[in-house]
Subunit: 197 residues, 2 copies
DNA sequence: GTCTATAAATTGATAGAC
DNA sequence: GTCTATCAATTTATAGAC
């Protein structure tokens, strides 16, 4: 079915373009015309695939969510040691540090913008789920390391908070050094937490 | 000079209204009409006091900055022990936890929005200065506790990152518990860091 | 299914009377 | 200095031709 194939192709191309622009310029500063242009789709056609700008943003969030779960699954398969899995999580922002410094965390900054721009709506709730996915997965890893459920949850919240706060600060101050040194510190903390007996 | 007094009065009333709305709805979702209404000033009059919406936002940031410096000065006078000063900083978000849960940190969320909405402009740079004020003051306190300049800087970045990340997470997840438990943990960390010999 | 043209709404900014 | 009325621009969303 070539028609359906082309359709799905254009749809995912729109999502890809929107994901990039939402990260770089944010939701408000990204117009549908921008997305259409980057995806090489005529403006009026966007509404055939997505009824509203909000729906397009929701699709972007779902794509982020799928990508996150995919990475988590990959790391779980790659390492038997949960600590090594968490170390991969810590290294990811450093591997794309240019982008983090210039535009912030693609998940955290989107969450924050949607909380202001669309607080209470399904869109903001979808955004919030992104951070939940992080915390839930981290909590699983800490539990696998031997922490009790409540403790694992607290450690997960601490890890995600530290990462998000550091990315916000490093982005705002445009400091790659801050990002690197703080993430190194978090890794040291990670190596010593929930010690094996 | 009663005319000038009324003028200054209206001006500062506009800033007060804008500060409240910027925190609750963010920059983009706050229209000049909203600000004018809350400040009880006719819409067309806003432009007499502030040439553009950006200038109004800059005035809001300056007012945040002044309030921050005032608080820091107060705490410095109140406590000879820098650790006690930093503890006050940690308690402040808990004292206004309802507002933090519902709208996030008034400084951090503004920074993040301006980085997306007005990246590179004087307005975004003014916003970034807010976080710098935090870090600089914290670094001074850690140095007064006996830390070397570089170490004090790193500790300040860690403290501010943890606070900002926690507020982002607690706001996004609407969890007062998360806010309280993580801030308690940060306070425990603070009590043990840079130990007196 | 695809696209052009345009409607509709919001809102920042200004002109000009008083 | 103060305010009303309005302009101008942006952008989401839709109507309708092909």
């Amino acid at each position: 079915m070539p028609a359906a194939y082309d359709s799905a192709e254009k749809r995912s191309e729109l999502v890809r373009a929107a994901r990039e622009l939402l990260h770089q310029r944010g939701f408000h500063r990204t117009s549908l015309a921008d997305v259409a242009e980057l995806a090489r789709v005529p403006l009026g056609n966007v509404h055939y695939y997505f009824r509203t700008k909000e729906r397009l943003a929701e699709a972007v969030i779902r794509s982020h969510e799928a990508a996150l779960r995919e990475r988590f699954e990959l790391w779980s398969k790659k390492h038997a040691d949960p600590r090594k899995r968490l170390r991969e999580l810590l290294r990811a922002p450093l591997d794309s540090s240019d982008s983090v410094i210039q535009f912030g965390c693609p998940h955290g900054s989107l969450c924050q913008e949607l909380e202001k721009l669309a607080s209470g709506t399904p869109l903001a709730k979808a955004g919030a789920r992104l951070l939940t996915v992080y915390v839930d997965w981290c909590a699983e890893q800490f539990q696998a390391l031997g922490a009790k459920p409540r403790e694992a949850r607290a450690l997960a919240e601490q890890l995600v908070s530290s990462m998000q706060g550091t990315m916000l600060l490093a982005h705002t101050m445009r400091s790659r050094e801050l990002l690197a040194s703080q993430f190194r510190r978090i890794e040291v903390w990670l190596n010593g937490v929930v010690p094996k007996n």
